[in-house]
């Protein structure tokens, strides 16, 4: 029976990992293509949640979840144009510091606009409830989330690996000078990638709002996890992030099963170990700029 309980935690961890993936993938994309570490990613996640609640008041939950990422992506475009662009060629540490500052500003802005009290957020009653498969119990809503994540993942993969847009992006990751020499301007691709990444974070926020507390500091809570996942998976690797997200989810679930107190610390230990023995990440490539 103990083994079964453990298994259930593992499976739940996988589901949770799927959710981490949505946030971390955006972060990893922005990082791969632009070489900037975006610590403001959590702020966009929080904005996604808040804006989806505002839209849901008028148009319902579904519309909120669908339109909020678009709104936030537009904000992301402004963010890229006026802030991030200056730091592509600079020391990576600078982008870290600037986006960290931006995250703090956005958190306080949210607090000023919407107040410090958590906002109520609910999912439609039809999506609530468990799904029982044999002895395993899942939350119906989280399975839906996993499905959405899978679709998004497939979409991004297709975009990056099967379209001409993706081809240019991949070339830009490997050899930006060569792409420029071939006469292709990378800037619009960068902007699109940032909008995509930020939009995914907002989607995560909108989808997770009904099952977590929507308060100004929620961005700070999620950015650490996303960061850990990206670092473990490998800065710059698509499948690395996928693998790392599920790994972090499972490790957390298993740790809580055995030593509940160490649940939150387990992913930091994992990150520490990975950075020690394989700093480029599980599936990442070596990036000279970071050494």
């Amino acid at each position: 029976m103990q083994v079964f309980f453990l298994l259930e935690q593992v499976v739940n961890g996988l589901v949770l990992g799927g959710y981490y993936l949505l946030i971390a993938l955006g972060l990893s994309l922005i990082f791969s293509v632009g070489g900037v570490v975006n610590l403001a990613h959590g702020a966009f996640y929080a904005l996604g949640a808040y804006i989806s609640l505002e839209i849901a008041k008028v148009l319902g939950f579904g519309a909120g979840a669908a339109l909020s990422p678009i709104a936030v992506a537009l904000l992301g475009m402004l963010f890229e144009r006026f802030l991030l662009r200056r730091f592509y060629a600079a020391d990576p540490i600078l982008s870290l510091l600037v986006t960290f500052g931006l995250a703090l500003i956005v958190e306080q802005a949210i607090r000023m606009i919407w107040g410090a009290a958590p906002l109520p957020a609910s999912m439609p009653a039809g999506l609530k409830g468990p799904v029982i498969l044999g002895e395993f119990m899942f939350s119906r809503y989280r399975l839906l989330l996993l499905a959405v994540v899978a679709v998004v993942l497939a979409g991004i993969w297709f975009l990056i690996h099967r379209t001409s847009f993706g081809r240019v992006v991949r070339a830009g990751i490997q050899r930006p000078d060569m792409v420029a020499a071939l006469g292709i301007r990378l800037q619009p691709y960068m902007t699109t990638i940032v909008m995509l990444g930020v939009g995914m974070a907002a989607l995560g926020g909108a989808l997770f709002a009904p099952i977590t507390v929507v308060h100004p500091a929620m961005g700070a809570e999620i950015i650490i996890v996303a960061f850990v996942v990206v670092v473990i998976g490998g800065l710059g690797s698509f499948w690395g992030v996928v693998l790392a997200a599920f790994l972090v989810g499972v490790v957390r679930g298993v740790t809580i099963h055995f030593v509940p107190a160490a649940g939150e610390a387990s992913m930091y230990v994992l990150m520490f170990l990975v950075l020690m023995f394989r700093p480029r990440g599980l599936l990442g490539e070596r990036i000279e700029k970071f050494e």
């Binding site: 990576p92 850990v228 107190a261 610390a265 930091y268 520490f272 950075l275 020690m276 700029k289 050494e291």
Partner: protein, 400 residues
């Protein structure tokens, strides 16, 4: 005057701070907190400003130092101030050395990320290890102690003492940055490769500044080299020096880490109560006894007499020893006929269990003056005496 300008500025700031705080409606308590944070920032400046190592972990050291002082005062040094602070300094020095050894293997952004992970990990541990740190509630009931007759409970007196400490730290760091050590740090920041080409052991400097930024200079690295070269457990000849050109190699590092983990594991298990201390003592005694026996056996089995001379085949044969007597007792220290070592040197591919029979046949077949017979000894003790006497004679010869 300009040489000590940072000191004058610091002194002026420290004197004016409490008055400025009062004017802003804050207290001397806040001024004290500002001074503490300023000291921490000075430390970080050594790391970031002078050496170019961006670290997000300074807050972790601030916290670890605070907890170390608080916990030691609660459990060991009730009511005192100096002892907990000294303990905290020592604790942080050791810990930062260990952590630095791990983290400093990486550079640039990876180093920064590792410090971030370290800070997050420290927070998580401090927050959850409620029995030790008090978790969310924190540690209360601490006292400021005092140096009699000066009581430190008075906020102003406490601030004055803090200001003196801060000034001392400022002066010390000023000296460090003006020293050759400090200049090498700047060199490392500007162009690390060039510094390496100039012959500076960059890793050692980075470790040192990492620890310094955590607390105080502490260089156990000085001990490691002689340990490797001369004091290895398995070296029989005290005169032997292992060539340092081959060190540190990956293999040696793996050995060191493995050894540390193994030993630390025992200590941790004992501290946690899973392993009684006696078990640890017994284990250690057994290992020592085994090693001693092993060394003795090595000395008994070999002559070790022909280190630096060119030699003949006969002399080489005579260099190993057989111990032929006490067949039953000898099984204790040399099972499986390991005592027929001279024979083993002669015929290395002959399996050990065949050596006794071979020995008997040789004795029957060889002439009476054959060098092989000189290798035989009746007992362990006699062989040992012979070997030691031989060494003494050789030493006397070399001395002449």
């Amino acid at each position: 005057m300009t040489k000590h300008r940072p000191l004058w500025i610091g002194l002026a700031a420290l004197v004016l701070l409490p008055f400025v705080m009062r004017a802003l409606g804050l207290s001397t308590n806040t001024a004290s907190q500002i001074v503490c944070l300023a000291i921490a920032a000075l430390g970080l400046n050594m790391l970031v400003g002078f050496t170019g190592l961006t670290s997000f972990g300074q807050s972790a050291w601030f916290g670890i130092g605070a907890y170390a002082a608080a916990i030691s005062q609660k459990h060991w040094f009730a009511g005192q101030l100096a002892a907990p602070i000294l303990f905290s300094i020592a604790f942080v020095a050791v810990l930062s050395c260990l952590v630095g050894l791990l983290i400093l293997r990486r550079r640039g952004v990876y180093f920064a990320l590792l410090t971030l992970a370290f800070a997050a990990l420290t927070y998580a541990v401090a927050f959850r290890w409620t029995e030790l740190t008090g978790g969310e509630d924190g540690l209360g009931g601490l006292s400021r102690g005092g140096f009699s007759p000066v009581p430190l409970d008075n906020g102003n007196v406490y601030y004055a003492v803090l200001a003196l400490v801060a000034l001392g730290v400022l002066y010390a760091l000023l000296r460090v940055t003006r020293s050759p050590f400090g200049h090498v740090l700047v060199a490392i920041r500007e162009n690390q490769q060039r510094a390496t080409f100039q012959g500076y052991d960059v890793d050692r400097y980075r470790l040192a500044v990492f620890v310094l930024s955590a607390v105080v200079p502490w260089l156990p690295v000085a001990v490691r080299a002689p340990l490797y070269a001369r004091w290895s457990s398995f070296a029989l000849n005290p005169k032997y020096v292992r060539p340092i050109a081959l060190w540190p190699r990956r293999k040696t590092l793996v050995e060191e880490y493995g050894c540390f983990c193994y030993t630390a594991g025992f200590v941790v298990l004992s501290l946690r109560g899973y392993l009684p201390w006696r078990a640890l003592a017994v284990w250690y005694a057994m290992m020592s006894a085994f090693l001693v026996l092993h060394f003795a056996r090595a000395i008994v089995n070999h002559g070790y007499g022909r280190f630096h001379h060119t030699t003949t085949l006969e002399a080489m044969v005579a260099d190993a020893r057989n111990v032929t007597g006490h067949p039953v007792l000898s099984e204790l220290w040399a099972p499986l006929a390991v005592r027929y070592h001279a024979l083993h040197h002669l015929f290395p591919r002959l399996p050990y269990h065949s050596l006794p029979a071979a020995h008997v046949r040789l004795l029957k077949a060889l002439p009476a003056d054959h060098v092989y017979r000189t290798t035989n000894n009746p007992s362990f003790v006699s062989a040992l005496n012979r070997a030691l006497a031989h060494r003494r004679r050789e030493a006397r010869q070399e001395a002449r």
